[in-house]
Amino acid sequence: MSEFEPKIVAFVCNWCTYAGADLTGTSRIKYAANVKIIRFPCTGRIDFMLLMKAFQNGADGIIVSGCHPNDCHYSSGNFHAKRRWMAFRELLDYMGVDVERITFSWVSAAEGARWAEIVNTTTEKLRKLGPYTNYQNLVKSGIEEEL
């Protein structure tokens, strides 16, 4: 049996991480192909329910990444995001969502290599954790009596 390949959704900000990921490509650094990148104007724009939407639709892991503190294009978006993730992570943990499956990071436009490393380590971690069956079962079991 071939090794399990996790599906990863990355929510990244337009100004830093997306540019960083672009740099990874233009620098010809190879990294895991498991990740699907979704570009946002800012990490501050990423609603916490979007993460759940990713899990709902079958993601095994998530990366959320934006500008380093003080580098936000809109000056404070990432600080807001940080608070949100701090609170949301606690809630997820309390409700039994595996927070190990979500990687939060700051990656600047100059850190192409760092982006590759983050994607690679996350992919590696998720390969070990396996598919997120818990959540997929939750999504599946909807109706008591399917006809």
């Binding site: 109706i143 008591e144 009596e145 006809l147």
Partner: protein, 339 residues
Amino acid sequence: MELERKLIKKASLEKLYQKLQANGNKIFAPIIKDGKTEFHYNPSYAEVTYDHIQTIQSLKNTVFPKIENLVRFTTDRNGTEVTEVDLAKVPSLVLWGAHPCDAAGFKALKSIFMWDYKDEYFNSRMNKMVVIGLSCYKCDDNCFCTSVGLNPGATNGSDILLTKLSTGDYLAEIITEKGKEIVNAAAELFEAAPAEAKEGNLAQVKQQFSHEKVTKNLAGAFEHPFWVENSLRCIGCGACAFVCPACACFDIQDETKGKTGKRLRCWDSCGFGLFTIHTSGHNPREVQSQRWRQRIMHKFSYMPERNESLGCIGCGRCSRACPVDMNILEQLIALEKIQ
């Protein structure tokens, strides 16, 4: 058919239960779990309880599930393919130990779903269901079945009605052909009718108002200040509607996962503020008093007139579930007296 009376011994009851289960029926029976009595699918007989006054939830889930799949569809480049669900796959179900009010609740639902257009989803579930009722020997002060034309030993709606006798054995009243089939298939478990009458073994539920009078009063009470005065504390949740055995309002929602999806029917409540809101923002029932009025009016005025059935069976579930004590019995008693 003519009502038939028989006796079933306490020990035989278990055999009947097991026989029904062995015959491939799904059984829905009340059990106590985490201190709450609720109906569950296929419990073991040892778990089944006969001593509850009332479960929190009604039994309408059996014929009007909280989510019903109406159709399936797949969408791709070639267009949309719609597949109907297979109603022949509805399993045969035995409702074990439903109180007479719950059994009558199905009649109220039927008057909505089978009025005019016949709802096949409801109908196929209804046809596949047998109701083995259980008379009430106790009640609480939220019960008011006798005020809405029922009683703790009413046979209306059950296929077989059991009543616990002083000996601990049960009187079985066989009411319908469906009930008779069950008895015939397990004839060895039933004995000749006992001499003891069931009346002495029933709870005493005092009649507290006349529903005819309420219906009559409601006809002219639309603009009455009663509604505003008595609904200020109503918080507009749907608890009353969702535990009600006769509430049938629903919503239709689509759920998609990738290319496939389902169109679902889910419970809804006229108590919700957004229930009637138009796209334009205009809302015919803008404030809670109007929505509370709708709830009572629908059950006690519109349904008797249009559907020839009351929309209430006096189980008192809504009063027990209400977080702010909107007691329906209290309000009906008051409505009987308003001018």
